[in-house]
């Protein structure tokens, strides 16, 4: 049984990352933007795990855990910002907060 080539794992990561990037660029609902950022972070994790599996080292999974911790902190702050946006503007449209004060 041959092993899965690393290129295939990286191709999967690239496809997921591009889908997440398209989501960030195309959607204006801020919840969708946050979800797309999660997809992109997860794609980066897939790339790290695929590369770690290529050399059978634990480093890839360690980097994945750091990405996981970053994603958890980011989503906590991001969702608090979503709540703030909704309470201030009564919408989840990211363009509603396009103007700065002062």
């Amino acid at each position: 049984m041959t092993a899965i080539p690393m290129e295939h794992g990286l191709a999967l990561a690239a496809a997921l990352f591009v889908l997440g990037l398209v989501g960030v660029l195309a959607r204006r609902n801020i919840v969708f933007i946050l979800m797309s950022i999660e997809i992109m972070l997860n794609a980066a994790g897939v790339a790290f795990v695929a590369a770690g599996a290529r050399w059978a080292e634990a480093d890839g999974q360690v980097m994945f855990f750091f990405i996981l911790a970053t994603a958890a902190a980011e989503v906590a702050v991001g969702l608090a910002l979503v709540l703030q946006l909704y309470h201030r503007f009564h919408t989840v449209d990211a363009d509603a907060a396009s103007k700065m004060r002062g």
């Binding site: 041959t2 989501g23 797309s36 999660e38 997809i39 599996a53 634990a58 911790a69 608090a80």
Partner: protein
């Protein structure tokens, strides 16, 4: 075992594509859960069982539950019963269920074939090696991740709290 990776990869990409193209937030979340579960399957076939377990627990469990919680908070009130009924329509959950059934079939196949990930990836990197790496050369990174999570906790608390104070302060100044 070899094809489990490719089927999971196709499921992950299809579910992610559906996440980006949905108009309804909850439908997108359902597909996002499927996408993350498929990614966990990919990790398992790549010989990273600990990463797969954490993907299910932290990503598909904790982070997605946070998303669902926030969406429920945003839509509080207003025709709650009709909306719940509309969400339970078969068209809403048929797609995610079909993709999940593919993953479930893969899970059964993996368990039936002995549960070894060694066949797909060159070698399995088990939890023991990862733990030794985490608390050996990467211990400073673990500390920094802990501080980052603490900062995220404080920041989320601050942002969530100022909303009440900010509203009353805003009304006071107007």
């Amino acid at each position: 075992m070899f094809y489990v990776f490719y089927i999971s990869a196709v499921v992950a990409v299809a579910a992610t594509l559906l996440v980006v193209t949905r108009t309804h937030t909850v439908h997108a979340l359902l597909y996002l859960v499927v996408s993350l579960l498929a990614a966990a399957m990919v990790f398992f076939t790549l010989g990273a069982p600990l990463a797969a377990a954490l993907e299910v627990i932290v990503y598909a469990g904790a982070i997605l539950v946070l998303f669902v919680f926030i969406i429920m908070m945003l839509n509080l009130g207003r025709h709650a019963v009709e909306r719940e009924r509309a969400w339970l329509a078969p068209s809403a959950w048929a797609g995610p269920t079909a993709l999940c059934l593919i993953l479930l079939a893969e899970l059964f196949y993996v368990v039936a074939s002995g549960g070894g990930a060694e066949a797909a990836a060159g070698a399995t990197v088990g939890p023991k090696e990862v733990g030794q790496a985490l608390f050996g050369p990467y211990v400073l990174g673990v500390e920094l991740a802990g501080m980052l999570l603490l900062a995220g906790l404080v920041g989320a608390y601050h942002l969530g709290r100022r909303e009440a104070l900010g509203d009353s302060a805003g009304e006071g100044t107007q």
